[in-house]
Symmetry: C2
DNA sequence: GTCTATAAGAAGATAGAC
DNA sequence: GTCTATCTTCTTATAGAC
């Protein structure tokens, strides 16, 4: 990896973390400067504005989400196990998810009200997971309509759980609600 | 109503709308000045800081939520009808809810990451609805545990639907998902 | 590519007149 | 109670040296 590319990734990683943990508007340019240890000028060289960094973060997340889902496909041969693996990955991240909410959902919710570009990018990230889930439910034998409904229910409940358990700062609540999502795999 | 109180309410109404439609950090003090038609000095006379306005908005929402739920109690004699009335009120607000998300959830999600006071106030608003829902499910004959689970499921799904349908800017999606919440009233 | 220094603007909070 | 005017700080963006 060239040095420029390395710096670029460092900025995106740092900004992605800060936007997630504090929100976009509560993250100042100078926060990214501090966190990366780079100079303001250097960051500006790679990204012409804060919004430009945001777009880069989203692109990175599209890649990461795609990689995670592909990883589940490789790890588990069976659709039921894949969905279970997906839910388990939520459980594994319960501490972060309870504290800061969903990486994508919280950012989308903060910025989607006004920023169309962000809403479009959020949609792309969401679609990756939503379509993957639908595919798994189809493989389980559900009809197209049913599979779409199941995927959407699992998805919306996941998002809602993140909102609620963050407000209540309650990991037990998170765990209980997310575990219940597994009933969606089998019940008719 | 005294003039001071009138002005105070005017500020809260305006700020509540702006915080909801644009988010807290994307609403500047000057936006509230413009929207109310009042002077900056006058607003500062009633609220010593922007965060003070925020707290006022939350107090107002606690009152409004309480009033809405009491209203449902008066309007419908039966628990099933009350829950249905609750869900119908969501459907009635679909345009706003799809565009800006949940009044309380979106603000809670934006600010809950860092602001403890806000998280505490959000919790109070959430609890009102959550406990009310649980009470209705208890009246329907569910066990304490089941009623709590139902209330929480209805609540989290509602929140999740708001996040998702905002990202997709899709009222049809909102309507479809919210309507499905009615199955929670009867199914075992 | 990376740095320091600075500009230009917006934000929230304050002071004092009426 | 309500206004105008000002202060201070923070935030983003830019310019130019190395």
């Amino acid at each position: 990896m060239k040095q420029g590319e390395q710096t670029r990734n460092k900025i995106l990683k740092s900004a992605g973390k800060l936007f997630y943990q504090h929100g976009f508007h509560q993250t100042a340019f100078s926060d990214i400067v501090h966190d990366t240890g780079l100079s303001k000028g250097n960051i500006t060289y790679h990204f012409k504005s804060k919004e430009d960094i945001l777009n880069g973060v989203f692109e990175q997340r599209i890649e990461n989400t795609h990689a995670s889902l592909t990883n589940l496909d490789k790890k588990y041969p069976d659709a039921a196990l894949r969905i279970e693996g997906f839910i388990d990955s939520l459980l594994k991240g319960k501490s972060e998810l309870t504290r800061y909410g969903c990486r994508n959902g919280s950012l989308a919710y903060e910025l989607g009200k006004s920023n169309n570009k962000t809403r479009e990018l959020s949609r792309q990230v969401f679609d990756l997971t939503r379509h993957w889930l639908k595919k798994q439910f189809l493989a389980l034998g559900f009809s197209t309509e049913q599979a779409g409904d199941r995927a959407m229910e699992l998805f919306t409940r996941g998002q809602g759980i993140c909102v609620i358990s963050q407000v209540y700062s309650d990991e037990k609540l998170f765990e209980h609600e997310v575990t219940q999502l597994k009933t969606l795999i089998h019940n008719p």
